[in-house]
């Protein structure tokens, strides 16, 4: 857990702007301290080596608080969630895995991003709403380790009090379900006390066309001009 040695701290304040979520504050005695409710255990305050007197240190974390670190510190690989690493392969290896082929979409909803952080209670609002539509939660995702019942989108009770810098909910669904998924997200965005990014994974035609864009525009969803393109150079090398 990120802590500040009160004996060593000189109160220079240099660590305050470095904290990713604004969890470091100055106390009345002129010393910096970490608001442990807000801290997501990302480790940036320590890794940045910002403190001139090395007053900031990390304490060992226990479950469930360690989930904060698992989902917020990208330098950490943790098997606690049952999934090695913390990311998802989403579009990156789709040329090899064909997880998202014609007729299906993938969607990544990243709660807390950009830079706001999210409580797992808010994550559950999204997973419950999506589960009702019958979408498939993608197995190879650290989120799976947090579910009590994925068919209902229910997370384990003991994790709900935790906060993370961001967490990706990755789902797969038949393309005709897109209007319902968008409608659900438009509803749930009003219920969460944070922000989230949304990304849609889809195939590109051999002519370079992206039919999903016009479908999204018809649904009143703006598509950003920048995206992530899988170049199709991957192939199976082992049988």
């Amino acid at each position: 857990m990120a802590r500040i040695d009160q004996e060593k701290c000189t109160g220079c304040g240099d660590c305050i702007p470095v904290c990713t979520v604004g969890a470091i504050q100055m106390s009345g005695e002129g010393k910096a301290h970490v608001d442990l409710d807000a801290c997501v255990e990302c480790g940036v305050c320590v890794r940045s080596r910002v403190c001139p007197v090395n007053a900031i240190y990390m304490q060992k974390l226990e479950y469930p608080r360690i989930l904060r670190r698992v989902f917020s510190d990208p330098t950490m690989t943790h098997k606690l969630t049952g999934i090695p690493g913390r990311g998802t392969a989403e579009v990156k290896t789709n040329d090899v895995t064909l997880r998202y082929d014609w007729g299906y979409y993938g969607m990544c909803i990243e709660l807390g991003r950009p830079g706001v952080g999210a409580s797992l209670r808010d994550v559950e609002k999204v997973t419950r709403a999506l589960a009702e539509l019958g979408v498939e939660f993608v197995e190879e995702n650290p989120l799976m380790g947090l579910f009590e019942d994925p068919s209902r989108g229910k997370l384990k009770e003991e994790v709900l009090g935790e906060r993370v810098l961001s967490l990706i909910v990755e789902v797969k669904f038949p393309s005709e379900l897109l209007p319902k998924v968008i409608e659900t997200l438009k509803k749930v965005e009003k219920e969460v006390d944070t922000v989230f990014t949304v990304g849609l994974i889809t195939r590109i035609t051999p002519e370079g066309g992206i039919p999903a864009i016009s479908q999204l525009e018809q649904l009143g969803v703006a598509v950003r001009p920048n995206a992530k393109v899988n170049m199709g150079l991957g192939r199976v090398l082992r049988r």
Partner: protein, 212 residues
């Protein structure tokens, strides 16, 4: 992760911003990885990739090219950022010719990335579209600050630090280029684009001047 997808900010800022990533899947195409990844790091350097790195080791501003190469393992993921479309074309041509069988991903303006693929005679397979930010957007900092912070997709660069850098530049304590490098150090993957960041920092300073 979807960490290179949701870079925010106006379209014009993307002219010099193309993230590159190379991926393998365990048990499917993880053959001869260490050598391939080392050669790709050399390729990125020879093409002038402004930053690149390996999340477990750091980026080119926190460690050396040689150390990045030495630290590559079967589990590594390598990525970086180019500042021109021509670099992307050359990178794709080389990756196609070398035929490593690894997945290659480029993040940037859709039309420019698809054009680069066509110039390199590569046929893109799939795309991850960004549908932007939803929810309580009033919690977000101004767009120009987000244009900087979202370049580290893991959000290791805080909005308050960007503001602190703007102040330091204004007081003449640091140049925009050096400030951008300091911010780039916090992005261990190496996809934070310091050239773009230094331009945005200068824009922020101009904005402050005119608002006075």
């Amino acid at each position: 992760m979807t960490h290179s997808l949701h870079r925010l900010g106006p379209k014009e800022l993307f002219a010099e911003d193309y993230v590159w990533l190379v991926y393998h899947v365990k048990g499917i195409n993880d053959v001869d990885l260490e050598k391939k990844y080392r050669d790709i790091l050399d390729l990125a350097r020879s093409l002038g990739s402004i930053s690149y790195g390996n999340i477990k080791v750091g980026n080119i501003f926190t460690t050396s090219h040689e150390n990045l190469k030495k630290s590559v393992s079967e589990k590594s993921r390598i990525r970086g950022v180019f500042t021109s479309k021509q670099q992307v074309v050359e990178f794709l041509k080389a990756m196609k010719e070398r035929d490593y069988g690894l997945s290659v991903i480029i993040s940037g303006l859709i039309e420019e990335v698809l054009d680069a693929a066509s110039k390199a005679s590569v046929k893109p397979h799939s795309i991850h579209l960004s549908l932007g930010v939803w929810g309580k957007k009033q919690l977000l900092p101004p767009e120009e600050i987000l244009a900087v912070t979202t370049m580290c997709g893991h959000h290791m660069v805080s909005p308050r630090l960007v503001e602190r850098m703007v102040e330091k530049i204004r007081r003449g304590e640091i140049t925009p280029e050096k400030a951008a490098e300091e911010l780039a150090k916090l992005c261990p993957c190496g996809i934070f684009n310091p050239r773009k960041a230094s331009k945005i920092l200068q824009l922020l300073i101009e904005k402050k001047k005119t608002s006075k």
